[in-house]
Every structure is written in structure tokens, then in C-alpha cells.
């Protein structure tokens, strides 16, 4: 599971120069990185790009704990090894591109609190999407809570044991259903309270 709360903590409490940079600049930088990824065709250029991102990572003294996060998309990139027929150069290119992309995003994420990222996106995307993004983010936390508590309940009441795989599967699928129902009920309550707080048909998050 992504350690969202830890990322948020880093984004809010961090003090590096990247934290101080305005989110607009950082997103512009991210776009630059992206165009580099798209346009560069030779390993040396990509190595340079990746090297720059890595050094930024260490210059900002980001904890090593989150470094594995930048490796995560490699899971998907591995499939492209099969496309290439195990050719080193191709694999190197693909991996560098993937790594540069994910390192850039992680840098952005851990140095910018998410409300600021979304708010900057608000200038580009239709506001309804951004509202939905905010609601999604909030919902993730509500669901994580439910998920955690449900997991604890399964654990405390011995709902999951390798010795009884079938019972465990039934218990787990019930828990999943429970999760979805809880989520839906929470979303209904959210809607109610939005209406109670003056929501009609358009959300105004920050004054527009």
C-alpha cells in the first residue's frame, strides 16, 4: 500500500528548496521532464536526465524510504522486455524513461501538498474534474480507514488463517462487499452534508 500519509507528511513538513518553489513551476518542470522522456532517444541523454532527477532527490534530502516508490512502475515496464526480445539497449532506454518519469512525479508529490497540486490543475482541467479529484482523495482516506478497521476485525476474530483457505476466502469476500457498501453509504452521507452546506449544482472550492 502506498504510504499516503507519510507522503503528505513529507510534502507539508518538508523544508527543502523544492518545497519552497511554487507548484506552478514544479509542474512546469515536470512537463519539461516529460518532454525529455518523450523526445530523447539515446541512453546518454536519458542517463543525464535521470541523473539530474536523482541528484535533486538527494539534494532535497528526501528519506530513502520513499525511493522504492520510484521503482514501482518498473513492474509494468518489465513486460516490455518481452517486446524487445531481451535487447539491452531497448531495455535500458525503456527503463530509464520509466524511471525518470516516476522519479519526477515522486519529487513533485513529496514536495508539494496535494491541495496545491490539484489547485494548480484547476487552471488547466475543467473544475468538475478537479472537484471530483478532491472528493476522490478524501474518499481514499475514508476508505482506507474502513479497510484498516475491517482488516483489524478480521485479524482479531481470526477471520484469516492459511489453515482454512475456503473459510478465509469467504470471509475476505464478505469483507470486500462490506467495504464497498460502507464506501457507498459514506458517499451518500457526503452528498447529504454537501447539500446541507449550500451545494447546489456546482462546487466552489476556492473562490473563482
Amino acid at each position: 500500500m502506498i504510504q499516503l500519509s507519510y507522503l503528505d507528511y513529507l510534502a507539508v513538513e518538508g523544508k527543502s528548496f523544492l518545497h519552497c518553489l511554487s507548484p506552478g513551476w514544479k509542474i512546469a518542470g515536470m512537463l519539461l521532464v516529460l518532454s525529455g522522456i518523450v523526445l530523447l532517444r539515446n541512453p546518454s541523454g536519458l542517463l543525464l536526465l535521470y541523473g539530474m532527477l536523482l541528484s535533486l532527490f538527494f539534494l532535497c534530502r528526501l528519506p530513502l524510504r520513499i525511493f522504492p516508490l520510484t521503482l514501482y512502475p518498473l513492474l509494468f515496464a518489465v513486460l516490455f522486455i518481452f517486446v524487445s526480445g531481451f535487447q539491452g539497449r531497448f531495455i535500458l532506454l525503456v527503463f530509464l524513461k520509466v524511471l525518470s518519469g516516476s522519479t519526477g512525479v515522486v519529487l513533485l508529490l513529496v514536495t508539494t501538498p496535494y491541495p496545491l497540486i490539484f489547485r494548480t490543475l484547476d487552471r488547466i482541467l475543467p473544475s468538475i474534474f478537479v472537484t471530483a479529484l478532491f472528493l476522490t482523495y478524501r474518499s481514499i482516506f475514508i476508505l482506507i480507514n474502513v479497510l484498516e478497521e475491517t482488516r483489524h476485525a478480521l485479524y482479531l476474530r481470526r477471520g484469516f488463517q492459511w489453515r482454512h483457505p475456503w473459510r478465509s476466502l469467504v470471509n475476505i469476500s464478505n469483507a470486500f462487499g462490506h467495504l464497498v457498501i460502507k464506501g457507498i453509504e459514506a458517499s451518500e452521507k457526503m452528498y447529504e452534508s454537501m447539500v446541507l452546506r449550500g451545494f447546489k449544482n456546482k462546487i466552489h472550492y476556492r473562490g473563482e
Binding site: 496535494y114 478524501r138 447529504e192 452534508s193 452546506r197
Partner: protein, 283 residues
């Protein structure tokens, strides 16, 4: 209290939940006048939350009528919503974030208050509730008590005429509870805010309510009175799954033992009564 204008009137409503659970809020009419602090007491699952949801237009009754500020909230809630602040039983879903400050801004912005004025309103309520230390925090990381306060701030920010609170004190520690009560009572005194709340803490009822309603199983509203009236004279509170406040129980017990000090509702009053009695007999 102030001028006796009727703000809320509920006349024998019936609600049937999708699973056919029927809640019939009947018996006495549920009436709230401007400036009154009204509390509803009753057992678990008797229909308190159901009643409040009807006032807010979240549920629509099958039979019976609901009037809030003279309108039917089921149909025209948007016309009156600005005058009503709400804190529901489950505050988690009520807080939309992303940060505390944004959340408090939600209502003003959605009511089309200008940006500047909205910020002013939000700052005002933040100051009043002492939320400055957490105003920049992301809402996902607040503790239960803090969430309750943020929800209250969100309800108060539009300076409503009517506050609807569903079990506002559950899960709060005793001092936070006391702060909460103090804010509510100040608002009532200064601005004449009307409030309707449900609660289970009978000991707090005399402090937060001018009028109490008692609700029987499945919605039967069968008693109305001041805390003194409800707790003072003997009533079969057990049938409401209630008990008297500690002080009432103590003084009733004393009365049964032949020591009649009166029926105090607050501690200071109780001390005063005992002392007076004591001095009288000493003389």
C-alpha cells in the same frame, strides 16, 4: 424565548425506510420557537436522527407535514438552507477538506458570498472556536475531537439562525465537551441562535436545553417540558431508556430518606440548597 416565532413545526410524520422499518414521529407536535434550545432524548434507535433528517429535507415523510421557517424542507430546502447549520452524527463524511480552512470556506463559497467576505467569515469562526493551530492542517489527519470542532465551525460559519446537532458530545472528552457547550450557550445568548440537538448524556441536558422532548421507541414523542419539569417530578424515565441526572437521583434519594432539599439541576444550585437548609436547621 425572544419572540415566540415558530421556526419548526412537525406534525405526526411517518417514515418508512427501504427495508420497511417504519418510524412514526407522532404524539406531541414537535414545535421549536425562535431562540429556544431544544434537546431530544430517547433510546437507541427510537428515531431521533430520523426526525432531524426530516427537518433537513434529507428524508421526506410518507405522511404528515414538516415546516421549517414556514417552508417544507423536503421541497424547498435550498431556500432555507442558508439559515441552518448542521452537525451530523458522523462527522467524518461531513468534512470535505482538503484543509481545515478550505473546509470552513466551503459553505460561504457555495452560497456565493464573495471571496473576501468568505475568508473573513471563516477567520471569525476559527477564532471563536480556537481552531487557529490546526487551520492549515489536512483534514485527513485530525483526531475525532478536532473533527467535531471543524464540523461545528463549518456549521457556524454562515451565522445561521438554527443549529441542528446530532449527538454533538459523543466521543468528546469532558473538557472539550464543556468548551463546546460554552460556545453554544454564548451563541444562544448573544445572537439568539435556536438549537435543536439530540443527546444521550442526561447530566448535560439541563445545561444545554431550555426544552426537552422525550421520544419513545419508534418515534413516539410523548413528553415535552423544561429540564426541571421532566426530571423534577417523577416520571417513568425507564420506559424511555433514560435515567435521571446524577443530581436528581441524589436529591430524590434524599427526599425518600426524609431530607427534602429541593430539586436542583446544577451543582452550584445544589450546594446552595444544601447549605441554606443546613443553616436553617442549625439556627
Amino acid at each position: 424565548m425572544k419572540n415566540g416565532e415558530r421556526i419548526v413545526e412537525v406534525d405526526c410524520i411517518t417514515h418508512v425506510y427501504p427495508d420497511q422499518t417504519k418510524v412514526q414521529i407522532c404524539g406531541l407536535d414537535f414545535v421549536v420557537n425562535r431562540g429556544e434550545r431544544v434537546s431530544i432524548l430517547g433510546s437507541n434507535g427510537c428515531g431521533k436522527t430520523t426526525l432531524l433528517k426530516h427537518l433537513l429535507g434529507i428524508l421526506v415523510p410518507r405522511d404528515g407535514s414538516v415546516r421549517v421557517f414556514g417552508l417544507d424542507p423536503g421541497k424547498e430546502y435550498s431556500k432555507i438552507s442558508r439559515k441552518i447549520g448542521v452537525v451530523m452524527q458522523d462527522v467524518d463524511e461531513q468534512i470535505l477538506g482538503p484543509t481545515v480552512f478550505d473546509d470552513i470556506l466551503f459553505a460561504p463559497l457555495n452560497y456565493g458570498v464573495g471571496k473576501k467576505e468568505a475568508v473573513r467569515l471563516a477567520q471569525h469562526v476559527i477564532e471563536r472556536l480556537g481552531l487557529e493551530p490546526i487551520q492549515k492542517k489536512i483534514v485527513n489527519y485530525l483526531s475525532g475531537g478536532e473533527k467535531k470542532k471543524v464540523a461545528l465551525a463549518g456549521a457556524l460559519v454562515m451565522e445561521p439562525d438554527l443549529l441542528v446537532l446530532d449527538e454533538p458530545f459523543t466521543g468528546l472528552d469532558p473538557l472539550s465537551r464543556r468548551d463546546f457547550i460554552q460556545v453554544l450557550n454564548e451563541l444562544n445568548r448573544e445572537k439568539g441562535i435556536t438549537s435543536i440537538m439530540t443527546l444521550h448524556e442526561v447530566d448535560l441536558a439541563p445545561e444545554v436545553a431550555d426544552v426537552l422532548y422525550l421520544m419513545h421507541g419508534h418515534g413516539d414523542l410523548s413528553e415535552r417540558g423544561t429540564p426541571g419539569e421532566i426530571f423534577g417530578k417523577f416520571k417513568d424515565l425507564g420506559s424511555f431508556n433514560l435515567e435521571e441526572p446524577t443530581l436528581t437521583r441524589l436529591f430524590k434519594g434524599l427526599k425518600e430518606e426524609g431530607l427534602d432539599f429541593g430539586d436542583p439541576l446544577g451543582i452550584d444550585e445544589a450546594i446552595g440548597l444544601i447549605k441554606k437548609h443546613w443553616n436553617d436547621t442549625q439556627k
